[in-house]
């Protein structure tokens, strides 16, 4: 299935420095992120784990530049992030394909925004995610897995230096999910971008990431930062993974006896 794999030149390194953030809902201020400091090296695959609603996705929005943080700074290679940019592409939990665009039109979105014409790279990205032959299909004709593949192609066309993954596989059925995990991992290895992924799935984090950051319940603080020193080709039944899994679940407040 792999035909093109252009390794991108410069994966992006990120420096999060004392980030605070919160939302005012119904007149009440709710702190969401509490003093988050995190240094992400270029080319790392960082998984952010934490209880549901703890603020991991908010952190991703800040890194993407969709919102400015209330406190602290985020540096991308020594430059403060002031807004969104095509070097930091987000892949959301829902594919959010535009229903009025075909698969090809959706994948070409980044080019349209930048005013580029590059049909070849669009077709290459579509082929890369295994959607060749579906270029002219409308989003409502795709299954959930295919739609998420299209969203992946839409992100990859921009040659992101960091791919921000907000639980992109969360809503897929378990079999499609396994396939997509493998493909995501392959893409990250081939292309060499930095990847930051929010997930609820400890096993998914263990399979994909080079490092797992564990967050507390809201307001989110970092309670563990675990490097995963395992070879890239990991087996789900690796005893070292099982140990790590037990460790992380304990961190998350679950008794480790299951």
């Amino acid at each position: 299935m792999v035909t093109t794999s252009t390794r991108i030149a410069h994966p992006l390194g990120l420096e999060l420095d004392h980030i605070d953030h919160g939302y005012t809902i119904g007149g009440v201020f709710t702190p969401v992120l509490d003093d988050i400091s995190l240094s992400i090296a270029p080319g790392e695959f960082v998984a952010l784990l934490g209880p549901s609603g703890c603020g991991k996705s908010t952190l991703l929005r800040l890194i993407a530049g969709l919102e400015p943080p209330h406190g602290g700074t985020i540096l991308a290679e020594d430059t403060p992030i002031s807004g969104p940019g095509p070097d930091r592409i987000v892949m959301f939990q829902d594919p959010t394909l535009y229903p009025w665009r075909t698969v090809r039109g959706n994948v070409a979105l980044g080019h349209d925004i930048a005013g580029r014409k590059d049909q070849a790279s669009v077709d290459a990205a579509i082929e890369l995610v295994g959607l060749k032959g579906f270029e002219r299909a409308w989003p409502h004709q795709l299954s959930g897995g295919m739609a998420q593949r299209a969203a992946l192609a839409r992100a990859l066309v921009n040659d992101p230096r960091v791919l921000i993954l907000d639980e992109p596989l969360g809503k897929l059925d378990s079999l499609t999910r396994l396939t997509m995990q493998t493909e995501l991992h392959r893409l990250w290895r081939d292309r060499g971008f930095t990847a930051i992924m929010v997930t609820h799935d400890v096993e998914e984090a263990l399979l994909l990431a080079t490092r797992i950051v564990v967050f507390s319940p809201r307001p989110a603080r970092i309670i563990a930062d675990l490097p995963i020193d395992l070879p890239p080709h990991r087996h789900r039944d690796d005893p070292r993974l099982l140990d790590l899994r037990k460790n992380i679940l304990t961190q998350l407040g679950h008794s480790a006896d299951w």
């Binding site: 530049g65 095509p86 979105l109 925004i113 579906f134």
Partner: protein, 333 residues
């Protein structure tokens, strides 16, 4: 519909839901009906031609010739197998004209000046087609300018209301004050303050078309999934792209509902404006025909107007089908 040919290895079961179209009432199931359509119209021709009229009506033989021509055309269509789904309607119309001819032209059952005969109607088209056509063109011209401006403004204002807080602050009260007013209620005022009655009517037509378009565009724009904006923003999209390439296409189904409603109000406004102020157009023609008790002319104008309205609605729906071809299914007009 494009049929995908290379499913990915892992997703063989994941083929897009194909849509198959099967036409109801194909020729194999009802082979006889198309052949009846022609004779139904020949019957109308025969009755018109041979049965003596109850009074001195114009163009009776002319009408019989027309019926005959339609019958011939339908027979040819049957031979060419182009008449299957529409055959029942063709037959019903032929029989309907026969019945009308018998009841009114031959037996004169209904009071005379108010109910005409088919040949009366035909006579209007034969003798007064120039003025009818002229009226149609005037109506269309008025509609095109007024509705066009109103629709364009409505979309623009609706997007503004949906996207800009300051715009909404200033414009929303005005919309709420003026919008729900029936445009017809403003007619007397418009004819006073705007010197040209044509200009006044165009302004009111724009208002008629503009209000529903504004409201539905607005509601369509505020209903856009915020995630759609995030997706574009994360790739660096600026406001211009977010409005023109995200908000507008996402709101398009709603916008078309507004355009359709606006068209309906425009028709009503047009007719009243032409009856009250503008000295041309189908509404004016009808007013004139009624004043002279020329009822067949009124019927003819009504027919032309109905064809105009349905034609324009059809045009709008065709446009919608083109623009919204990405939708799973839509109403068939």
């Amino acid at each position: 519909m494009s049929s995908p040919n290379t499913p990915s290895p892992n997703q063989t079961a994941d083929t897009p839901s194909g849509q198959t179209a099967t036409k109801p009432g194909t020729s194999s199931r009802r082979p006889l009906l198309p052949w009846v359509a022609g004779p139904a119209w020949f019957l109308a021709a025969l009755v018109t031609w041979r049965w003596p009229d109850a009074d001195d009506f114009p163009d009776t033989n002319q009408l019989a010739t027309q019926f005959c021509a339609i019958g011939l055309a339908l027979t040819v269509a049957a031979v060419l197998r182009r008449l299957s789904a529409r055959a029942p309607w063709a037959i019903a119309l032929g029989l309907g004209f026969t019945a009308w001819e018998i009841i009114q032209a031959k037996l004169l059952w209904l009071p005379r000046p108010f109910f005409g005969t088919p040949q009366d109607l035909l006579d209007v088209f034969l003798t007064d087609w120039r003025r009818l056509g002229d009226s149609l063109l005037h109506s269309l011209g008025l509609l095109a300018v007024g509705y066009g401006i109103g629709a364009a403004l409505g979309v623009a204002i609706g997007v503004g209301l949906g996207r800009s807080l300051r715009f909404r602050y200033w414009v929303r009260p005005l919309i709420r004050l003026i919008g729900p007013l029936p445009p017809v209620a403003l007619l007397p005022l418009a004819f006073i303050i705007i010197p040209s009655s044509r200009l006044a009517s165009e302004a009111l037509l724009a208002l008629a078309a503009g209000f529903p378009t504004t409201i539905l565009t607005w509601s369509g724009v505020v209903a856009v999934d915020p995630a759609y904006y995030d997706v574009a923003r994360t790739m660096g999209a600026r406001n211009r792209f977010l409005v023109l390439r995200v908000a507008l296409p996402a709101a398009m189904p709603q916008i078309f509902v507004g355009l359709f409603m606006g068209l309906g109000v425009s028709f009503a406004t047009l007719v009243v404006a032409e009856m009250l102020g503008v000295k041309s157009g189908l509404g004016f023609y009808m007013q004139w025909a009624q004043g002279w008790a020329a009822y067949p002319n009124m019927y003819a104008a009504l027919l032309v107007m109905s064809l105009m309205c349905t034609g324009l609605v059809t045009l709008l729906f065709k446009l919608r089908d083109r623009v919204l071809s990405w939708q799973k299914d839509g109403l068939k007009w």
